[in-house]
């Protein structure tokens, strides 16, 4: 049975989990959630549902992400101190194959204000999996433009990453 084969769904299988959201246990390691649509949380097929599937696969794991917010708020004065947690954080998401989280991070990094050391570290530490990251190249191009605007030698700093 494939992940998206829902033909076996049965209302009686719904259970409850945090947040007032009914959960359907379809596997030992997977859950389906849908917002209740009727007063009794009924789940007739004629009603539309949006499910949120939480799996036990590594990519769904909750991981420490404080480093993302610290990196976004960084500047050249404090960037070096945040290098290690940032690189460790990126490596942990790569290990989990949590690429959508990395893409969201790339899009949120303010290239014009964030620490140049961190911007370089982010670009270089994620370089090996760039093919999996749809927002990696736009991020590097933004960094290039921001470095040039800061009067930095973007070509030299980003050597091997561009082109």
């Amino acid at each position: 049975m494939t992940l998206w084969d829902l033909s076996y769904l049965d209302n009686s299988e719904f259970d409850w989990l945090s947040g007032g959201v009914p959960v359907l246990n379809i596997r030992d390691d997977r859950e389906l959630r849908a917002p209740p649509r009727t007063v009794a949380g009924g789940h007739g097929r004629k009603v539309g549902y949006r499910f949120h599937l939480v799996t036990a696969m590594p990519g769904s794991a909750a991981v420490d992400s404080r480093w993302m917010f610290d990196a976004i708020a960084s500047d050249d004065a404090n960037g070096r101190a945040r290098l290690v947690p940032t690189i460790q954080g990126i490596n942990s998401l790569i290990a989990l194959e949590a690429y959508s989280r990395l893409d969201a991070f790339f899009d949120s990094m303010p290239a014009s204000t964030a620490s140049r050391h961190l911007l370089l570290a982010v670009a270089r530490s994620s370089f090996p999996v760039r093919i999996k990251l749809s927002r990696w190249q736009p991020f590097v191009l933004r960094v290039r433009d921001a470095f040039e605007a800061r009067g930095l030698d973007a070509a030299a700093l980003l050597k091997g990453l561009l082109g």
């Binding site: 097929r45 539309g48 499910f51 794991a61 993302m68």
Partner: protein, 256 residues
């Protein structure tokens, strides 16, 4: 339906294992597409821990939504890890597994709402919910010699309230009741008898979900509804339990 008014108390032997407030809103694409840095900044230093997790979202019978999509959820926790604020593109939730009293819990709800309003345009809440999960174990309360019907309203026990069903014969039972509340919203109360593991003591769970599904504008109105749910939840629990259980839980009248 309105549960009878009772004196508000805090239980020394608190049976609450989890309290969750969840408010849903129309999808905010910016939360799916970028890190909620402004939200985290607005929350301030009170929530130093941040975790992310991914869920796969897909739809059934929803027009124009065919492709499964990955969504990111953000979990902001207090330093002591007692409170967590979860943010997704369609909801915000505040939860704790160590509930003391409403005045403390609602401070975290207000902090979450303020940060949300300062960071995103949330036109309405489409669903407001407050959920209390109580788990009662007779053995943990030193009430092992009592019958369940001595501790709870008999009608809440289903077949387990029958004298003929005793001891090891009790395996599992669940019932779900939905009620319309007089003032605002509805309540969905699920009661469950279960054994956490084979051979372990039977526990009785009262899972009360108070919710409003009409659109609510403004965080003040939302807080007002949640406060009325809180009162109703306290009255509902007291209505469920007997005086013996009430006394065994160690009721204390909170300071004003």
């Amino acid at each position: 339906m309105k549960f009878p008014e009772v004196e508000r108390v805090i239980y020394a032997n608190n049976p609450l294992v989890e309290v969750v407030c969840q408010c849903m809103f129309p999808r905010i694409l910016a939360i799916d597409e970028g890190i909620p840095a402004t939200f985290q900044q607005k929350l301030g230093a009170s929530y130093p821990f941040v975790e992310t997790r991914e869920v796969v979202s897909f739809s059934m019978n929803v027009p124009n939504e065919l492709t499964p999509a990955k969504r990111i959820q953000y979990l902001f926790s207090t330093e002591d890890r007692r409170f967590t604020i979860a943010l997704g593109s369609e909801f915000i939730a505040i939860s704790t597994a160590d509930y003391k009293q409403w005045s403390e819990f609602v401070q975290h709800v207000e902090a979450a709402f303020t940060a949300l309003a300062d960071s995103y345009a949330v036109p309405i809440f489409t669903r407001i919910g407050l959920r209390y999960i109580d788990v009662v174990s007779r053995e943990k309360l030193g009430l092992g010699d009592y019958l369940w019907k001595d501790l709870f309203r008999r009608s809440a026990l289903g077949l387990f309230g029958e004298d003929e069903i005793k001891g090891e014969a009790l395996l599992e039972s669940t019932s779900l009741t939905a009620l319309s509340l007089d003032d605002v919203g509805k309540a969905q109360i699920r009661t469950t008898f279960s054994r956490p593991s084979e051979g372990s003591d039977l526990t009785f769970t009262i899972d009360s979900d108070f919710f409003e599904e009409h659109p609510v504008k403004g965080t003040d109105d939302a807080i007002g509804i949640l406060s009325s749910f809180n009162k109703e939840a306290g009255r509902a629990f007291r209505w469920f339990i007997s005086d013996q259980l009430h006394d065994a839980l160690g009721p204390v009248v909170p300071r004003q």
